[in-house]
Symmetry: C2
Subunit: 142 residues, 2 copies
């Protein structure tokens, strides 16, 4: 995703474009490692002199509100962020903490069931699968 496209995305949300926001969002759109705020800060700082961690948090909250990024909370401490906002799911390794994306069959039926059963109007879904990644499977001592 080019810088121009990202600028357009920000404009379309009536969000003022700043170098910090541009770089943070670009970074997130260009990785699939689901970094934490701290990791984003480390990486983006490299070409954004003087960037502060508070700005990273503020920016992530802003982007989140406009559905430009996803926040993923796992059992561990720091939230992880995902620049891919298309419906997709995640697998989480209980041993090493690795998070991988996974495109699965949409779970629309479940959405409908939920609306009927609970009376909620469902807008979005989050599906996480917990287990052990290939690397950790052999050596995991439950």
């Amino acid at each position: 995703m080019s810088a121009q496209e990202i600028i357009r995305e920000l404009h379309s949300c009536n969000v003022r474009v700043t170098p910090q926001r541009l770089k943070i969002l670009s970074y997130l759109k260009g990785t699939d490692t689901h970094p934490t705020a701290e990791e984003i800060y480390q990486n983006v700082s490299e070409n954004c002199y003087g960037l502060s961690l508070a700005t990273v948090y503020n920016t992530l909250n802003l982007l989140k509100e406009h559905n430009l990024v996803l926040e993923l909370k796992y059992g561990d401490l720091a939230s992880r962020f995902d620049g891919n906002v298309m419906e997709h799911y995640h697998v989480y390794c209980k041993k090493c903490g690795k998070v991988s994306d996974f495109m699965g069959s949409p779970v629309n039926e479940v959405k409908l069931e939920a609306e009927e059963a609970t009376g909620f109007a469902i807008e979005s879904v989050r599906l996480d699968l917990y287990g052990y990644c290939g690397r950790c499977q052999t050596k995991h001592d439950a």
Copy 2:
């Protein structure tokens, strides 16, 4: 679920039975409100004089490790806990924060797809649906 049954559950995990643990687990098994640690503390304190919040946290962590309770983290700050550990899903109201249980079709196919696509060995699933509860649907200003 009777106190006797809860004691048996704790024993079967080689967990020492204390009044605090008994009361916290009983409370969680007997509610479907997905309380936070603070709420558990408030409620259990009423008939457990001198209970401390740290004990609530320690106990919840212990129960979690033994899969006797589930921890649910949402966008808001405090984790919520669920004493129902059978596979079921949750709907979360983006307006008022209410969390309801929902028994849906098991998503086993998705589990298999994920194992094939990612090479992970999947052990458990968490499916959350986000939207607006009946009460909040009429008055939500997106």
